[in-house]
Symmetry: C2
Subunit: 81 residues, 2 copies
């Protein structure tokens, strides 16, 4: 079983990296580019048999390690074979 | 129109961050965790009308800025409304 976790800055939190990329793309001539937001994601191989148990564990992994709850939010996709 | 770009290390390229996260998760007691790979993604607002033009532009953005072609590969999703 695999999980993919997307971690993004919460709306309203300034994204300096996204802004820097926006400027860089414009300087390269990509003038059709609007807002750019950057995030990180994790592909995690899991040994759980049960999908709900896997989802609960991944949620706890996010809360305890993968995401900073103050400024980040996360989305979990479980890819049960 | 929006694009989401996932940038990952190419298979075979050592992922020290993924490995560090794997160890951290195990030390937190998540012993069902196997391989962990970390990547980055970009959500880009685009002003293109035509989907193919948007996809071609985003591919060029990846080749020129968003991904390091030596060690990274990328996947593009275009979310045409």
């Amino acid at each position: 079983m695999k999980a993919r976790v997307h971690v993004t800055l919460k709306p309203g939190v300034l994204d300096p990296q996204g802004r820097a990329i926006n400027h860089a793309l414009h300087s390269l001539g990509f003038d059709q580019v609007g807002d750019v937001r950057q995030g990180k994601f994790f592909d995690i191989d899991l040994g759980y048999e049960d999908r709900d148990a896997a989802e609960a564990a991944v949620k706890e992994m996010c809360d305890r390690l993968l995401a900073n709850p103050v400024v980040e939010s996360y989305a979990i996709e479980i890819d049960a074979p």
